[in-house]
């Protein structure tokens, strides 16, 4: 226990010190590969970004609003008590007002365990309705494009020196590093753990790796990163992604999201220094043939719910040190369009999954869907800035109070989405 205490005291001293000027003394051992109980500070942050502006109103449906059914004559998901369609096609009621799209049924265990929360009618102040600009601003955590070019997660990691030099401290799942992770921290783009090896002819890779171990010995920042990278290669070599057995019989769906979440789970369990992971899920720009209980978006939701549910089951033991956020650049128009889809709107939603989330609850200051309550050309209004949510996570779960660095042009309000310790 003494170790725990002195470590905590040390971390508190660290938090009190001016972060920008603070650096680890060179004699400090690197903590990246320290024993598991000394893992990275705060929770592992996993951010799942739904690219293309997901339709919040058909994901967590405000079925208590008569207006919803009026303005979505063909796209509305049937009421929970609508006896015409079979039950599996109706809204799953959550609190008498909001309900899940039926494809989100796999999320009910996490919801009932109080580890899954929804934040509704949230989003950014940006009114461009441009995917490009909105995603960029959101990933940079800014109000307008004038501000740091780096991403908010990168600034969180850069402003919190956990002494963790692992090249897997920040990982972008996919071909390219997400904007949110770009900045003055090393970040690894990882398509899959299977990628994080030298591939090809086993003997050749082995010989090269041995040579690298010698060449990257010695002083120097790059040498340090090289040694860490080799260490990770060794660690991951024993982590055969095909042989990885999720706990509790959790079954990740096929497809990119399931694969990515499975990789993140494997990395978390392997204790390789992961502090932040970003995952992209595309396909949410449903201008055309979006569907209702079934159809295009229902398929996307199947994948999303299946993936998150598997992640939750797989990491049941680790949930207390994980915070997963699902976000999207903006919501879609409240009115359906003429091609059975929805156009770019404003207010969206977020999902929060983790052991300390104020779960089983839809957090919302509901703005309403009546014409006079809608925003601009007929969009759900934004009543909670997405940065309020992220800031609360940084403060309460990531031990990082440096809000002026993470969200430099924003002053956040605590919304109570994370339980007090």
């Amino acid at each position: 226990m003494a170790t725990t205490h002195s470590r905590r005291a040390f971390l508190e001293a660290l938090a009190a010190a001016p972060l920008a000027a603070w650096a680890w003394p060179s004699w400090m051992p690197r903590l990246a590969f320290a024993p598991a109980q000394q893992g990275p500070r705060g929770d592992v942050l996993v951010v799942v970004f739904l690219r293309g502006a997901a339709d919040a109103l058909n994901i967590v449906v405000p079925h208590g609003e008569a207006a919803y059914f009026r303005i979505r004559p063909t796209l509305a998901v049937p009421r929970p008590d609508d006896r015409r369609p079979e039950k599996a096609l109706r809204i799953i009621d959550l609190d008498g007002f909001f309900g899940f799209h039926p494809a989100l049924a796999p999320l009910l265990p996490a919801w009932q365990a109080g580890q899954l929360a929804v934040v509704h009618a949230c989003g950014a102040p940006d009114e461009s309705r441009s995917h490009f600009q909105a995603m960029e601003l959101m990933e940079r955590g800014l109000t307008d494009l004038h501000g740091p070019a780096s991403g908010w997660i990168a600034r969180h990691l850069a402003s919190l020196d956990t002494g963790n030099t692992s090249p897997l401290r920040a990982v972008g799942l996919g071909d390219r590093v997400q904007q949110s992770l770009r900045g003055s921290i090393p970040v690894t783009a990882l398509r899959s753990i299977a990628d994080f090896h030298l591939g090809g002819d086993l003997a050749a890779a082995q010989a090269l790796q041995e040579a690298l171990a010698t060449m990257y010995r010695g002083e120097g920042e790059l040498q340090g990163i090289g040694q860490d990278t080799l260490h990770i290669l060794d660690t991951l070599a024993s982590l055969d992604p095909l042989a990885y057995r999720p706990s509790d019989g959790a079954l990740y769906p096929d497809g990119d999201l399931g694969m990515s979440l499975r990789q993140v789970a494997a990395l978390i369990k392997a204790e390789v220094g992961l502090e932040a992971a970003a995952i992209d899920v595309g396909g949410w720009d449903t201008h055309f043939a979006q569907g209702s209980s079934q159809g295009l978006m229902a398929g996307l939701l199947d994948d999303l719910a299946g993936g998150l549910a598997a992640f939750h089951a797989d990491l049941a033991e680790e949930m207390n040190r994980i915070t997963l956020v699902v976000m999207t650049e903006f919501g879609r128009r409240a009115y359906e369009n003429a091609s059975l889809g929805t156009d770019h709107g404003h207010g969206g939603l977020m999902f929060l999954l983790g052991g300390h989330v104020e779960g089983g609850k839809v957090h919302a200051q509901w703005p309403g869907l009546e014409p006079e309550q809608l925003f601009g050309p007929g969009d759900l209004a934004v009543t909670v800035d997405y940065r309020d949510i992220l800031a609360e996570i940084c403060l309460k779960r990531l031990n990082n109070p440096a809000m002026d660095r993470i969200f430099p042009d924003f002053s956040s309000t605590v919304r109570g989405v994370i339980r007090e310790a």
Binding site: R182, L198, G199, G200, D201, L208, L222
Partner: protein, 483 residues
Amino acid sequence: MLDRRTFLKVGGLLAAGAAASACSPVYARLAGALRPAAAWPPAEEGTFRALQRLTFGPTAAERIEAAAVGLPGWIEGQLAPSQIADPAADLLVRPLDSLQLEASDLAAWDREDVVRELRRASLLRQIYSRRQLLEVMVEFWTDHFNISVDKGDCWFLKTVDDREVIRRHALGNFRDLLWASAHSPAMLVYLDNQANLKGTPNENYARELMELHTLGVHGGYDQADVMELARCLTGWSVRSRFWRGEFVFRGDDHDTGSKDVIHVHIEPAGQAEAERVLDVLALHRATADHLARKLVRRFVGESVEQYGDIVARCARALVESGGDIGAMLRPILLDLPLGRIAEPKFKRPLNFVISSLRMLDGDTDGGSGVQDPLARMGQLPFAWATPDGPTDEAAPWKGGLVSRWQFALDLMTGRLNGTRVPLEAWRHTDEKGESNSVLDRFATLLLGSAASEPMRRALQPLVSDDGSLLVAGILASPAFQWR
């Protein structure tokens, strides 16, 4: 003229270079006469390091050429790219039909094809063009005037911007370059100026024009200047139907009335208002200083403050020459003995990949074999989302070692699509059984000098008959990540 001493000095490289470029009978003849028995001599370090900055990684042939004519002469030659015949690059790029098309024709193409061809052309030129300084400056200005093909119609507009703005003016005049960029539909779309209308201004382009393209963030302008410049730029737009993708000034959308931008009073004059501001910005002292710093950072090193005198001379040259980019480069490339530069520069992913292929005389079609690894490393051309362009700082790139090691191994074991290094061409100069000398030859080729003793020990087990693993080891080494 090549004197005997130069011949001997570069003979080793010459032999290898000649073997590799079978299409060059002159070198082949010279090589036959001069193939040395000893290991390759190290390149003169200063020249090698200078060439590392002036090219995407010097080929053996370029090292020979520079040694023969002397670095200053070689640089002057590079500053006049139109005088350099470039048949190899021309031939490779010629089949890419989309490169020469106008925007309205490109708009009818398949999006993937247009972007793929643009990337292929860019990579092929970086690897095979003999006009290396031009290509280095094309990269510099592509970063400076960054446009992502993922934004709106930029997927086809960038092809025109690349040809008419960046490549046309890369070693020309900065005022012309800035003028062309401001009238470039790709830039106007990328920075939302078509949404900049009378009454509902969009400041995006106006701001970046001053912050990134000219004055720099501390260049002495304020928010009021941004708003006033945005007013000047209202109505600068892009045609969406007939002549789709052409620049158009729409008077109806223009905010008439006088403006004041950075202490310059602008009388109502329609399109000419913003053009007047462009002229002021192009040769503004703050612009010259901003550009000089970026160039010094690119060519010399990250600690720009140490090179204050060069920055000052470089900035003065821009103003005094009326915007001549060559004049601006001379204080950096010529007056500064580049060989004196002590500060190594970390290769960005693009430079790592291209230098591997160039220095080994690799064969590539510029397709997925190089594009996929570059995407994984985070520097696929024309994909950088933010207008600041891919950073020139080393730190953010250092985390990607695994993708580099992977590329080295995949390249040397023939696992990249359409991309390979024919080492058999280099093997002609191998001395059987002298593994040390093979090791030193490739180290000299790729690192400029023989490997250090610890590195030699590490690489020794990789020496084999075909040499591929040894080369992979050098490409993956810490030393090759720097230039």
